[in-house]
Structures are given as C-alpha cells and as structure tokens.
C-alpha cells in the first residue's frame, strides 16, 4: 500500500509531536486552529481494533493473506472480525445498534444500504488502489455519485453439473428444472436470487423488479418445479458435501463451488447459461459513524491490491476487481473471463442489482419452500 497522508499512519509519538507542533504553529499564526485540533483528535480517536463484519472465510477462518499488509502496517489496530451469514443477518445486527467499522454486502444491496442511513460514502482519494479496480465494478458501487461500495471479490451465479452423469440439452438455466435429473438438483436458498434467476429464465422484463403478475408467474413456476430439487443450500459447505457425495449432480452454484468440486476430482463443468449468468460483486462498505474511518480506508485499500486479488483468485476461485490480479489457474481465468474487464456485465452477464421489493421476493420464496 502506498503512503497517503499523515492521517493514515499509525499514531506514534512522532506524529503526535508533529501535529501538536502544527497545531501550535497554526495557533501562533492565527490560522485554523480548530482544523488542526480536529485532525489531532481524529488521529487520537483512531485507536483500538478495526471492527470488521464479514463473511465466513474472510477473517479468522481464512483469507488473512488478503489483509496481511494492513496488519503489518497497523499492528495495534488489527481487524477484529464478526461473521455475517448474509446481508439480512448483517442488516438485523446493524439495526440492533451493534457497531462495526466495515462490512461487506453484495452489489444488489448497495442502494438499499446507501439509502438506509447505516453507511457513509468512502473517500476515493484515500484508497489509491481504487484506480486499479475494474471501472464497471467501481461504478456499481456508486449511488448518487458517491462511492458507497469498494468492489472486491466477484463471481457468477450459474449452473454447476457433473459431466459423467448429466447431459444438458442446452447451455441454459433450464438444467435446474430438468425432469431427467429429478432428485439430483440443488437450488440456492435465497429468495431474491432464485426469483431473479427464474425471472431471467422466464424472460421477465426486469427480473429484479418484477410486476405482481410476473412474480406470480415466477412463483408458480418455481413451485411447479420444486419436486425436482433435492435440497436448497444456504451454505456452500452444505452444497460441497451433497455434491461431493454424489447426492446431487446439478446445482445453482458459485465459481468457488466449481473449484472445490474439481479439487475433489469430480468431472464438473461450470456452465455459462445462454440466458446469461448473474454476476455479483462483494462491496466493502463503511459504516456510519465509524470511529476508525482512516483505518477502514487503509483496510479497504489493502483488500483492493493486486496481491490480495491474486491470492483470492488462487485460493478461493473467485474473481477480484483489481484488473492486475491474475490467477495461476488458466481454467479459472477462462471460466470467469478474467481477461475481459467487461465480462462482469452486459452482454456477458447481468450484474445483480437492487431489488426494490426484496421483502416481497423473500416472502414469495417462503411460499415456494412451504409448497
């Protein structure tokens, strides 16, 4: 990470002396004493551990390499992690008033959180590595001209299947609804994702903002096909177990699931459906009133580096927004089309987006599960 201002450096005695001298000098010169004092107090206040609310695998339980340089630079402000199961879980926790500095929703939630008043925009100037990030993804993290999300990990929602057991009639989402594989199919247990995907498959005008009649049609469709699904997976580990044990052969999946199944030696293909896959992008967001905003910026900058990105790609099988990050695996490079910065969006894929009636989508999904 590059140097970018005294305020980002660890508070040391030297810094304090400099700032005190600056403040004193400013006072003597009759300039903005208040400003210097504010800088001093801000730095003084940025103490303690950076508090990060993140997904499993991005903290204590793995992925430390991605923020190792932050830890090296700020050993007294190491990140302290809490795990979020999903955005709904994070939202509930945040609404309860538990305070963190950073958390990571995915791109479809950027607008929701930006409007919720729970987050503050980032200062792009304090994240030098932002310039290396995919501009499409950076734009997807913006709301009303402000950078609320710093894009990091990304990938597709698509179809994973075993080539020794499954012969798709077409490269299509339809494989998830194929009668021939009844009882061998796994769907994703997330209402908005399933309704958006089914909406894409059924040709809804805007799958993320379906009309009442479209939603009704989508729900009926999913209910009519539910008997084909063996399980709804909510956690990747559940999918890996079922897929790895041969209990399911076809799954709504993420790139990492494909990587994991390949590691198990299974003959698998990660399909690129003709209706287009849905891409998602993890967005680091700065929580409102964070007492450690500068440290949060430093942490986001570390995550945004090419080095962190390469580690993520090599070890987790996800893409990274840093355009200079390149995985060692040519398979992953091809599957995610990492050589093409436009692969994340049209015409290659749909970028997941805000769902204005997310609560209704969730409710209708409950109707599918209970049917």
């Amino acid at each position: 990470m590059t140097e970018h201002g005294a305020t980002e450096r660890r508070l040391s005695r030297e810094d304090l002396l400099k700032l005190t001298a600056a403040a004193g000098g400013a006072a003597l010169l009759g300039t903005r004493v208040g400003q210097a004092g504010a800088a001093l107090s801000r730095l003084g206040a940025e103490s303690g551990n950076l508090r990060v609310l993140d997904w499993a695998g991005y903290g204590y339980d793995g992925g430390q390499a991605m923020f190792a340089s932050y830890v090296k630079k700020y050993p007294k402000n190491k990140p302290k992690f809490a795990v979020m199961a999903n955005e709904a879980d994070a939202l509930a926790k945040l609404r309860q008033g538990v305070r963190w500095d950073i958390f990571r929703p995915y791109v479809g939630w950027v607008q929701y959180f930006a409007e919720s008043g729970l987050v503050d925009p980032w200062d792009p100037k304090s994240i030098p590595n932002l310039k290396q990030l995919n501009p499409k993804m950076v734009k997807a993290g913006q709301y009303k001209g402000k950078q609320y999300g710093i894009p990091q990990d990304w990938g597709f929602d698509a179809v994973l299947y075993r080539t020794d057991k499954v012969k798709p009639k077409a490269k299509s989402w339809s494989l998830l609804f194929d009668e021939r594989y009844k009882g061998k199919i796994a769907w994703f247990d997330e209402g908005s994702a399933m309704f958006a995907m089914a909406g894409v498959y059924l040709g809804a005008k805007n799958p993320w903002d379906q009309t009442d009649s479209e939603l009704k049609k989508t729900q009926h469709f999913l209910i009519s096909k539910k008997h084909l699904a063996r399980m709804f997976w909510a956690y990747e580990t559940d999918l890996w177990e079922a897929f790895g044990n041969g209990d399911v052969w076809v799954a709504y999946a993420w790139p990492n699931d494909w990587v994991q199944m390949k590691k198990k030696g299974l003959p698998v293909v990660y399909m690129h459906p003709k209706e287009k896959p849905i891409s998602w992008i993890g967005m680091l967001m700065l929580l409102k009133g964070s007492p450690r905003p500068q440290l949060a910026h430093a942490y986001a900058d570390t995550w945004s580096s090419a080095k962190s990105g390469k580690w993520l790609e090599d070890n987790y099988g996800y893409g990274h927004s840093n355009l200079k990050a390149r995985p060692s695996s040519s398979d992953l490079l091809r599957a995610l089309k990492l050589g093409n910065p436009n692969a994340v969006g049209p015409p290659n894929a749909y970028i997941d987006r805000n769902i204005p009636r997310r609560d209704l989508y969730a409710k209708l999904w409950q109707g599918v599960k209970n049917a």
Binding site: A85, A88, L91, Q96, W187, R230, M231, G246, K363
Partner: protein, 297 residues
C-alpha cells in the same frame, strides 16, 4: 436432646426467612432469561420494537396468521400442522420402541441393567450435531447403507434429504430421552402388585395391561412430552437432512429472522404461537403426569 416448642418455632422462622432468598435467584433467572425475552419477542410481533425504524404498532401479522396472508394464505398454519404431524409420528414411534426397551431394563431383573442403560444413553456423550452429521454420511446416495443394499442388488434408495430422514434422525436423537422417564416409572413400580395380580389369576398380559401400563402411564406421557415439544420447534435436523420436503415450522422461524430479508415481526408471531401451543400442551399433559391408583376404593 428434645427441642422446646419455642426452639422449634424459632428454627421454622429462620427457615421461612431464607425462603425468598432461595427462591430469588431462580425467579430472577426466569424473569431475566425467559419472561423478559418473551416480552421482547412479543413487542417485535406487533412492531412495538422493530428493526425497521418508524414502523407503527400493528396487529396485522397476528391477524394474517389466522386470517390468511395476502400473498401466502394460510401457509404458516399449514406448515405448523405438518410439523405437528411429523412430531406426533416421531413421538409415537419412539415411545413404542422405547417402552419394551425400558421394560426389559427395569423389570427383567438383569444385574447389568444400569450398564445397559448407560449404553442406551451413550450417544449423549457425543455432540448432537456430530450425531446428525453421521446420519448424513450413512444415508447418502452412495453412503454405507445404500452400498450395503447394493451388494444384495437392492436400491439405491433416496434416503437423505427426505422427510423420512428427518423422522429417522429425530427418532434416533430423542430415543434416550424417551426411554429414561419410562424406565424410572417402571423401576419404581411396586412388584407386589404384579405378584398380587398373578395370585388372583391374571395372566402376564392381563397384569401388564391392568397394572404395569396404567402405573407407567405418567412416565409414558412425560416421555411423549419430552420428545414432542422439542421436535415441534426443531430446525437443525431438518435443515441438515430434510432437503426440500423436510422443512419444518422451526426452519420457517429461523428463515424469517435470518435469511432473505429479515422479517422479525412475522418470525416473532410464529415463535409466540409455537410457545402458546407448547404451553397449552404442557398444561394438558401435566394432568396426565399425576400419579394414578390402580385400584379404587
């Protein structure tokens, strides 16, 4: 040395004074960790507390639970009924299985009954989650059971991620809970009653039906209750082995609180409804747990 009446009164008085002190801790515990949380959940159920700022207080979700949700109809009550049926099936089957087991241990006169009892409850020494996960492996399409059946040219059967798997694993997990109260009630049975029945010409079957079974009924009712109540709100086992058809009422509550989009109001309503049903059942069953007399005057 005999105490005087005054000394006895003084002793009783000191004992009485310690009563509230002794009760204070458990009552405080109940208030803080049971009644207050229920109050909080009740507040969420009407949006008196809400994770969505500015929500007005409403009884809408309570009305929709019984009157039908505009988008889902009576889906929650249907799911509740499905869970009741599943819990009843599990409870009835494992009570039927546990009774002969407990009967043998308690009344066969074997000297090793406590060792056998220990073996019965041995699975409790391992984690609940591990036991459920072990079944996940056993019941897999390519797991040991299907592989063994394959040697005889049978199967493979779809065992995992089914309602059957939920019933099987719940039964396995709760069996010791069922066997223990039945064992205790049979152990405390006055054997002289059985001898009397025999002396009066009753066959072993008649003695069982007229003496043993009625006297062990409180233990059976307790056993039934011990398994029915927790399985009614069960969510871990269905989520691990249930698949798309093993979804239960407890899973619905968990989902409403933590997946998709948080709906704590509906989740709270469903949780309180479950609590009310369980409370009512406990009252009904507690009457059955009263000791019975075999013979009447």
């Amino acid at each position: 040395m005999a105490s005087t009446p005054g000394q006895r009164a003084g002793h009783r008085s000191r004992f009485d004074l310690t009563g509230p002190g002794l009760l204070g801790l458990p009552v405080a515990w109940l208030v803080v960790f049971f009644l207050v949380p229920i109050g909080i959940v009740a507040a969420y159920s009407i949006d008196a507390l809400s994770i969505v700022p500015g929500s007005p207080v409403t009884l809408r979700t309570w009305r929709e639970l019984f009157g039908g949700d505009p988008f889902l109809g009576h889906v929650y009550l249907s799911l509740f009924w499905k869970s009741v049926k599943m819990s009843l099936i599990v409870s009835a089957i494992i009570v039927a299985l546990a009774y002969p087991l407990a009967y043998y241990l308690a009344l066969s006169g074997t000297k090793r009954k406590y060792i056998l009892l220990l073996l019965l409850i041995a699975p409790f020494l391992t984690s609940y989650l591990l036991r459920v996960l072990a079944w996940k492996v056993l019941l897999g399409d390519e797991g040991p059971i299907n592989s063994a059946l394959g040697w005889f040219g049978i199967g493979p059967y779809t065992l995992i991620y089914t309602q059957f798997a939920v019933l099987l694993v719940l039964g396995y997990v709760w069996l010791p809970f069922v066997a223990l109260p039945i064992f205790v009630s049979l152990e405390s049975l006055d054997r002289r009653l059985l001898e009397a029945a025999s002396d009066l010409g009753a066959s072993r079957w008649q003695a069982f039906c007229r003496v043993t079974l009625p006297l062990s009924a409180p233990g059976v009712a307790a056993a039934f209750l011990f398994v029915f109540i927790p399985t009614l709100g069960e969510f871990i086992t269905p989520s691990l082995v249930g698949g798309t058809n093993g979804y239960m009422y407890g899973n619905q509550i968990v989902d409403l609180f933590g997946t998709g989009f948080p709906d704590w109001r509906t989740g709270s309503v469903l949780a309180l409804f479950l609590l009310a049903v369980v409370g009512a059942l406990t009252i009904v069953f507690s009457r059955l747990l009263q000791p019975r007399q075999v013979a009447t005057d």
